[in-house]
């Protein structure tokens, strides 16, 4: 607990913590303000249009906010943050200090990962709540009916928030492992971003090649492809299946999402493996 508290002190005082959260909320706010102020008044009967349908019912708007907070932008920021927090210890040389005081290397890394997870989860929760508030404000600004605010919808939002947080933590854990391996703040951030961006591209190419025949087969049943089990892609399946991401609204196209019952354990396994790898690397690392 002492170590986790110390890690939280470090993150509480780091400007980056607030800058990234502000970026997340700021971008969301910008989009919703644009939608509320421009799109709403321009389209008299927006309720009947796809955009209005997507934005207003809470279940669907939860997916839009979730896509911001847990999907594209949120995951990117979580990867940057986790990579920076771990990499900074190496770039500033401070990782030597606790180890030279006799602290367990594995426990130190685990405490750091737990603290990063707590901050990422808290930041995501704040951003998610802020996003949902923006939905309400946008709907009111555009004169739209919120509609569908039932207990079922609320539970679905909470469930989506939980699944989204799980995915975010898995992606942050991967960035922690990358930064520990590379021992650098900048390299940790850059490589984690490259992985985050490159993996879906590779997965999409692999899927396109693998499912090429289905493009010309009308009515073919979408199938799960092996590339969807890659670390970042399987997280996307969780977000889609849990209606926490925008693609979920569009339905399945050429491939099916990995079912939650498979995807969630895989995400958990990737997260645990990433932290385990970071601890193992830290245990064996020579600190110069």
């Amino acid at each position: 607990m002492r170590l986790i508290h110390a890690e939280l002190i470090k993150m509480r005082h780091r400007t980056m913590t607030y800058v990234l959260l502000a970026t997340q909320i700021g971008v969301m706010a910008f989009v919703f303000v644009v939608v509320g102020l421009i799109v709403g008044p321009l389209l008299a009967d927006v309720r009947d249009l796809p955009l209005g349908q997507a934005l207003v019912p809470l279940r669907a708007s939860g997916a839009i906010v979730g896509d911001f907070v847990f999907g594209g932008l949120g995951s990117l920021l979580a990867v940057i943050y986790a990579g920076a927090m771990v990499g900074a210890d190496y770039s500033w040389g401070v990782v030597r200090n606790p180890i030279a005081r006799g602290e367990s290397r594995e426990v130190y890394m685990l405490a750091k990962a737990v603290a990063i997870g707590l901050v990422v989860a808290l930041g995501a929760a704040i951003a998610f709540v802020a996003g949902m508030l923006m939905v309400v404000i946008t709907a009111l600004t555009a004169g739209l009916d919120l509609g569908g605010f039932t207990l079922d919808t609320l539970l679905q939002l909470v469930g989506g928030w939980g699944l989204g947080t799980l995915v975010l933590l898995e992606r942050a854990a991967i960035a922690i492992a990358v930064a520990t391996l590379l021992r650098s703040q900048l390299a940790g951030i850059v490589v984690a971003i490259v992985l985050y961006v490159a993996e879906p591209i590779i997965a999409n190419v692999a899927m396109a090649v693998g499912q090429f025949g289905q493009l010309f087969t009308p009515g073919a049943t979408p199938a799960v492809h092996w590339s969807q089990f890659l670390p970042f892609s399987v997280g996307s399946s969780v977000l889609n299946e849990g209606y926490v991401a925008l693609p979920a609204l569009m339905g399945e196209m050429f491939v099916a999402n990995v079912p939650l019952v498979q995807a969630v354990p895989v995400v958990l396994a990737y997260g645990a493996a990433a932290i385990g790898l970071a601890m193992l690397v830290m245990r064996r690392q020579e600190l110069t």
């Binding site: 002492r2 780091r14 401070v94 030597r96 180890i99 602290e103």
Partner: protein, 307 residues
């Protein structure tokens, strides 16, 4: 012994850093660890503090042998290795707070105490990024003292300190040894080490060249400079050669009035040198006994050009 190593070896890839280091740091003393750049000093300190894994050899701390994974011995050690490293956006006090969470349990009031020892009380709430090199160095010493350790390992602690800071550091380390603590200090500031250390070890190319009480080493390694008239120089050289047949003798002609001879004999033999010259009818116009750690260090390590 507070620290002992036998046959300690370490390579960085194909580059050897330590080649069988045997060192012994007695308890309750200040041990000056000296060596040219790249001689293996910092590598040794990193091995002792568990940052590096040795390739071969044994290490003991307070009489107990330890290996790479035996981290609990470090609860009795405070260290400052190379440049002091801190979170630049945290204050000095917060840096010590987060450091105190690692390793041995540290009472909260200890943070204020060590900040006071190094004279950083007033600036302790400022971000470390705004500190001068000397202030960071002082904070590094405070961090090393945080757990009230029995052994302090300090790598170049006087770097960047102003004269006042160096005096304060010297007094603090002296005070710590008076409490029975052991200080292992590596430094390039030989005059500083000479004032501070009880024991020195000189390392070069990964091997310990000499180790012992500083007084004993200096006594055995002094030099005497003799000033005689120029016309007396050939005869004076003969006398000095007889006196110290296997020691180097340098003649330095400073002009028509007088010349200098420098002979490497123990500084305790000054009177003997003077008498021998007088008995030969040569009256020295100057006789100077020189003995310094710097000179001793340079003699030992002068076999190669600086790297």
């Amino acid at each position: 012994m507070a620290v002992a190593t036998r046959g300690l070896s370490k390579r960085y890839g194909r580059q050897p850093a330590l080649l069988g280091l045997d060192m012994s740091v007695p308890r309750g003393k200040v041990y000056g660890f000296l060596g040219p750049n790249g001689s293996g000093k910092t590598t040794t300190l990193r091995l002792l503090t568990g940052l590096l894994r040795p390739d071969a050899g044994q290490m003991w701390m307070f009489g107990e042998q330890f290996g790479w994974g035996d981290r609990r011995r470090l609860f009795r050690v405070g260290s400052l290795i190379e440049t002091p490293a801190f979170y630049p956006y945290l204050s000095g006090r917060d840096n010590l707070r987060v450091l105190a969470a690692a390793g041995p349990a540290t009472p909260p009031d200890r943070i204020e105490a060590v900040l006071g020892y190094v004279g950083l009380g007033e600036r302790s709430k400022s971000p470390v990024g705004t500190y001068s090199l000397g202030m960071k160095q002082r904070l590094g010493v405070a961090a090393a003292m945080l757990s009230d350790p029995d052994l302090l390992i300090l790598d170049e602690p006087a770097n960047g300190l102003d004269p006042g800071g160096m005096v304060a550091l010297r007094e603090t380390l002296r005070w710590l040894t008076s409490l029975g603590k052991t200080v292992l200090i590596s430094s390039h500031l030989l005059a500083e080490v000479e004032q501070l250390a009880d024991v020195v070890g000189i390392i070069d190319r990964g091997r310990l060249l000499r180790e012992g009480l500083i007084d004993d080493l200096l006594r055995a390694s002094g030099e005497i400079r003799v000033r005689v008239a120029v016309e007396e120089m050939p005869r004076a050289a003969e006398v000095l050669r007889r006196l110290a047949p296997d020691k180097p003798l340098y003649g330095i002609d400073n002009g028509p009035q007088a010349g200098w001879f420098q002979v490497s004999v123990e500084t305790g033999r000054t009177a003997e040198v003077n008498r021998a010259l007088a008995e030969a009818g040569i009256y020295a116009t100057g006789l100077e006994a020189r003995s310094s750690l710097e000179q001793f260090f340079l003699q030992l390590t002068a076999h190669e050009a600086p790297r």
